[in-house]
Every structure is written in C-alpha cells, then in structure tokens.
Symmetry: C2
Subunit: 226 residues, 2 copies
Amino acid sequence: MRDAYHEELDSISDGLVEMARLVGSAMGRATTALLDADLELAESVIAADAKINDLHHDLENRAIDLLARQQPVATDLRIVVTSLRMSADLERCGDLARHVAKVARLRYPATAVPGDLHPIVLEMGQLAQRLVAKAGLVISTKNVDKALELEQDDDAIDALHRELFSHLLDDRWQHGIETAVDVTLVGRYYERFADHAVSVAKRVVFLVTGEHAAEFVAAQEASQAQ
Amino acid sequence: MRDAYHEELDSISDGLVEMARLVGSAMGRATTALLDADLELAESVIAADAKINDLHHDLENRAIDLLARQQPVATDLRIVVTSLRMSADLERCGDLARHVAKVARLRYPATAVPGDLHPIVLEMGQLAQRLVAKAGLVISTKNVDKALELEQDDDAIDALHRELFSHLLDDRWQHGIETAVDVTLVGRYYERFADHAVSVAKRVVFLVTGEHAAEFVAAQEASQAQ
C-alpha cells in the first residue's frame, strides 16, 4: 500500500517537473515571439497554456485524491500540500508567459520592444527560462544548494528590471507612451515569473529541511561562524 | 471529536473573513494614500502587511495541522484544501495593496496619479475594496448567488482598467513617461487584486456546489432553458 503511495507521490513530482519544462519553454518562445514580432509563435504560446492549465488541474486532483485515500501525516502530508502550491506557482508562470505572448500579438506586425531594449529583454527572458529550469531540477533532485542559488539568479533579473526602468525614465526616451506601457508590463511579467520560480525552489528547501529558506541560510551561516 | 473538528474549521473560516477585512481596508487606505499623497497612511499600509502575512501563515499551519490530526475526507477535505488556497489569494491581495502604497510613497510629496485620472482610480479602488468585502461575506455565508455577482463586479473593474489605458494611450497624454509607468502598474495592481477576490468567491462556489463556477452557471442556465 505504501509503495503504491510513494509511486503516486513520485508521479506528482514528475508532473511538476513536466510543468516546469513546459512553462520554461513557453517563456522562451514568448520572448522570441516578442522580440521577433512572430505572430505564429505568439499564437502557439497562447494556445499551449491550456495544456499547462490541464496539467495543473490534473495534478491538483491527484494530490487531493491522495490526501483522501492515503491520509498522509508529517513529512508525507507536507510533501502533498507543498506540491499543490508548487503546481499553483507553475500554473501562474504559464499565465505570465501567455501575457508576454499576448503583448507580442497585440503589436504585430510591429515589435512591442524597441531595438535598443532587445538585449535587456532577451536576457530577462533567458534568465527567467533558466530559473524555472533550475526549479524543475530542484523538484526532481531535492538539491537544497541548487535551490538556494535561485535567489541570486533572481537578483540578476531584478537588476535587469531596474535597468529597463532606467531606460524608461531616461529623459531621452523617444518611443512614446504606448511602448512605455508595453515595456512596463512585460518587465513586470518576467519579474513575477522569476518570483514564482524562486517560490518553487524555496518550497523545496522547506520540504527538505523543515525550515523556511531564509531561516535555513541564517542557521547555516550561524553554524559556520562558530 | 467531530465537534472540536468543526469548531476548528469554523475558526479557519473566521480567519479568512478577517483576512478579507484587513486586505480590503489596506486597499482602501492605499488608494487614499495614493490620491492624497499621504505618506503616513502609505507607510501604515506597508507596515500592516506583515500582520496579514502572519495571519496567512497561521491559517496555513492550522489547516495543515487539521489535515494531519483529523484526516478529513470528501467535503471536509475539500474545505480545508480550499481554505489554503483562499488564504493564499488573500495574502496576495495584501501584497498588492502594499504595492499601491509603495507607489504613493515613492512619489511623495507629489501624487503619482494625475488629477484627471483620480475619479477612475478612486472608483477602481472602491470597487476593489467592495469586491473583497463581498468575498469575505461569501466565505462566511457560503452564498453562491452573491459569489457569482463578483464576476460582474470584476467586469466593471476591467472596464475602468480599459478606460485608464485609453487615457494613457491618448495622443493628448501630457503627464510624461514616469507617470505613465506608475499608472500602468497601479492599474495592474487593482486588476490583480480584483482577480484574487473573484478567485476566492469561485472557490466558495466550488465548495458549495462541487462544480467550478462556469460549469455551475452553465448548468443553471441549461435547467432554466428547459
């Protein structure tokens, strides 16, 4: 009975890894669609979000079914509840990739992002994709050190986000209001996507160590300082 | 034993109602702070978010504790899992109120929102506050009809949001880029706040009827058409 239980738990974990893969791919393709003004690619990202939502609902149902049938306690209970949250985080990442694709579609055949901002937005998109890929790896390996790296990666996204704002607010900005609005929203979508990826990794830290990520780091630093 | 259990469940529900009250109040005060450029009020909203987060974590711990000790199944299990999600929605509403307050603080002593947009932003803020108040009522009364009203209220927020954008994108916009960025973000915060309030109400519909809100409405319409 318990073996079947752990098999189901593993299959939920596999589902989360698959979701991470799908939303990472979606954000990568959304970024390309945005920078290349590729309508077809944008449409495909928008359409593919339904599959991510389905996977999310399927995982939720399986996790709740597992709670009802197996009534896990302690660590096992924590794993199932945390899976529900990770699934919600990843589902939201999918929405944010779709939002980026929708900006691309809205401005087609023009590109929403001016050429001088392409390098920043490209890097934000690549980092966001790497963050969620790493989050997927963290889910499957439960590697706490790797999980803690995501906060630093997120700092890099935040720095790029600030750089984007410094362009927006520069007196020499010459792309008008509509583009400023698009760039503001797109910047926010990448930032939120990265936040959710970090949140997934933090939940794994909590699962493995029983401590919230910040507490875990503080405790480690305290023991190293002794 | 079961009585103690239902008391705990009621107390979790009370906690959610209290969270809805707190985030509604926070968004109301954040809107005032934003439109009046009231730094003190903005600071108080920012500081008070910690209390909302504490309440969220307390509710989460109590819900997980309840799962472990009482091992509910069927409807009871669904109530506890749904409570976890509603708590997460409301915690996020608190974050969004804090974000609005932070925009107020950032631009102090100036007002971030130009005078001609005050009526729209005021109405968005008031509607957002009413939506979450209604969500709180729905949590305590489990009133499905009231819950379904929230989608219409949300349509009103979306309409105001579009109106805000039409001002932003009007050729006569004369408030510069920084203000456009602020207004874009603030508009997004209200919209997301309202989305989470609607999400809370939809979860109650699912709890009560066992159907997702859209399915429930479709089934009702089908039975009325017969």
